[in-house]
């Protein structure tokens, strides 16, 4: 495991923002850390970077205890927390050069990073004049500058346009597949994580509600039988009378939890016998967006 925490808790005054969190981030993964705003994602990231003192629990990164190996661990991490930390009176390149000075990285690497995030053209422009997306890209370049083994990115696609989002996503996938990095990325948007993550952790009110591979997440989503027909409301009432649980009704279709193939056949015949024309009937997986909402709203 690249990151492993046990019983991690943190309070801001009386308010507990992180509750007994056990993160398990495997090497070579893109770990999507999902949760609504205010769930405790940024606080967790700050704990991982030793910016906040852990109240309870332990953090191991690269199998070393964080507190006692702070500098050697941090030297292998690149991070971007909330909005990128950029000196607005310096140009994009100067921001990178300043960081390169602190990390003792060559000037050549600075230019490579500018190239990578497509900021070469704006390298000499003051960062204060950058658009939000450009700042975000500069933030990513700063995080990548030391060629770290582990990248910790807090909402890296915030403020990016669709092209920018795709670029960041492809960059992260490339870093993991080609350069053997591990990426820990937080987001409140499931769709974004779904497209790139190999592993997911879902946090809500400081508590981990789900953790596992993206496949595990798909399998816990209960399949549904979706029936497409006219007069869905009447048909739903009929099914309810016959003891079926109808989970969703709209103008085009209704949904019933999937039990077996036989049960699907029974529903079909029942509707046919009652003179409803069934246009289609099929087994569907609940989409992850809905699952995410279900998981976070149940609490």
């Amino acid at each position: 495991m690249v990151i492993s925490t046990e019983g991690l808790s943190f309070n801001f005054g009386n308010q507990q923002v992180v509750r007994s969190l056990s993160l398990q981030v495997p090497e070579g993964s893109i770990y999507g850390f999902l949760g609504p705003n205010g769930a405790g994602k940024t606080t967790t990231i700050k704990l991982l970077l030793n910016l906040l003192k852990t109240d309870q629990g332990s953090i191991h990164i690269f199998n070393k205890e964080l507190q006692s190996n702070r500098i050697s661990i941090l030297s292998q991490i690149g991070s971007l927390i909330e909005q990128p930390a950029i000196y607005l009176h310096l140009s994009g390149r100067e921001n990178l050069l300043n960081r390169a000075l602190l990390l003792q990285v060559s000037e050549k690497r600075v230019d490579e990073m500018l190239e990578l995030v497509h900021l070469t053209g704006a390298a000499h422009k003051k960062a204060g004049k950058y658009s939000l997306g450009m700042k975000q890209r500069l933030g990513i370049a700063l995080a990548l500058l030391s060629d770290p083994k582990l990248l910790i990115l807090d909402e890296p696609t915030n403020g990016l346009d669709p092209n920018g989002i795709i670029e960041v996503r492809e960059l992260l996938i490339r870093l993991v597949t080609q350069h053997k990095k591990t990426v820990f990325v937080s987001s409140h948007l499931l769709a974004e994580i779904e497209r790139m993550a190999t592993h997911v952790g879902i946090i809500h009110r400081g508590e981990m509600l789900f953790q596992g591979s993206i496949k595990d997440l798909e399998t816990i989503s209960q399949p549904q039988v979706q029936v497409e027909l006219d007069s869905t409301v009447d048909a739903a009432n009929l099914l309810k009378k016959r003891g079926y649980l109808v989970t969703d009704v709209n103008d085009n279709h209704l949904s019933v939890p999937f039990m077996s193939k036989e049960q699907m056949g029974e529903i079909n015949s029942l509707l046919n016998q009652n003179e409803y024309t069934v246009y289609s009937i099929r087994k569907v997986h609940k989409d992850l967006e809905k699952l995410f909402l279900d998981i976070t709203q149940k609490v």
Partner: protein, 268 residues
């Protein structure tokens, strides 16, 4: 040590285009230039007074305000500017997640502020001596060239530098803790006014109060021993007085206290 040096260089790199840095250079230049122009225009009044007296008037004009307001306010500003660069850019979090010891980052910042105060005071000496000698070149009736004030002036400014360290540590810590300028500025201003009053009314415990130290240094000069040679009078500056020891003690104590506050502080 390496982390400290890298951080110190980075401090210079970051601030080299800001007013925080340039004010330390431009302030002595502007004040000495103004004084130069004043003396140049009024040279008839000052013609043929002995060199020592001319220097006293020239350097004394700056030193008079230096102790009361100029130096403490300059320190307030420098301590603020060194920290505000991180507050404004929200870079504390990225600074403290670098693989560099927190002590190195904190002390590099402190010593950079210290360096700026030193630079500013050193330039005051340089520009005072430079413009004085330049005056006597342009107006030979001004006898600046007859007396060498360099050593005395360097001693006075060095003592002022030591006297300012207590204030610097306090203001540095305040600027580190508070984002906005008004809090450290307001506290610094009120504390300075109080310091000047304590020193001027000869309060017996004024030497214990850091914001009185620059003023006490200037007041001390007036009372210092002077030999009465009419051509080459000498003032002896007693650098290590008890107020200077208090200033250094406060500086070290608050610096250490600040470090522990930084260690415990949550990085926003």
């Amino acid at each position: 040590m390496k982390g400290f040096l890298l951080s110190f260089r980075s401090e210079f790199y970051k601030t080299r285009k800001t007013m925080g840095f340039w004010s330390a250079v431009l302030l002595p230049l502007a004040i000495c230039l103004l004084l130069f122009m004043g003396f140049f225009n009024k040279s008839d009044h000052l013609a043929n007074i002995p060199g020592f007296m001319a220097w006293l008037q020239f350097a004394g004009a700056i030193l008079a305000v230096m102790g009361s307001l100029l130096l403490p306010m300059l320190i307030v500003f420098i301590a603020y500017s060194v920290n505000s660069i991180e507050h404004k850019a929200e870079t504390w979090k990225s600074l403290f997640s670098l693989p560099i010891a927190k002590l190195s980052i904190y002390s590099a910042k402190y010593f950079y502020a210290l360096f700026l105060v030193f630079l500013c005071l050193a330039l005051f000496v340089l520009f005072t001596v430079g413009f004085g000698n330049f005056l006597s070149m342009l107006k030979p009736s001004l006898k600046f060239n007859e007396y060498h004030i360099e050593k005395l002036l360097a001693q006075i400014y060095f003592k002022l530098f030591l006297a300012s360290l207590g204030i610097l540590s306090i203001q540095f810590l305040l600027s580190l803790l508070f984002r906005d300028f008004l809090k450290p500025m307001g506290i610094g201003f009120v504390a300075t006014i109080a310091g000047v009053i304590f020193a001027n009314v000869n309060w017996q415990y004024a030497y214990l109060y850091p914001y009185s130290h620059p003023m006490l240094t200037i007041k001390g000069l007036v009372n210092s021993k002077m030999n009465n040679s009419p051509t080459m009078p000498q003032i002896t500056v007693d650098i290590f007085t008890k107020d200077i020891f208090v200033s250094l003690t406060v500086a070290v104590a608050v610096f250490i206290l600040g470090y522990f506050i930084v260690l415990r502080k949550s990085v926003k």
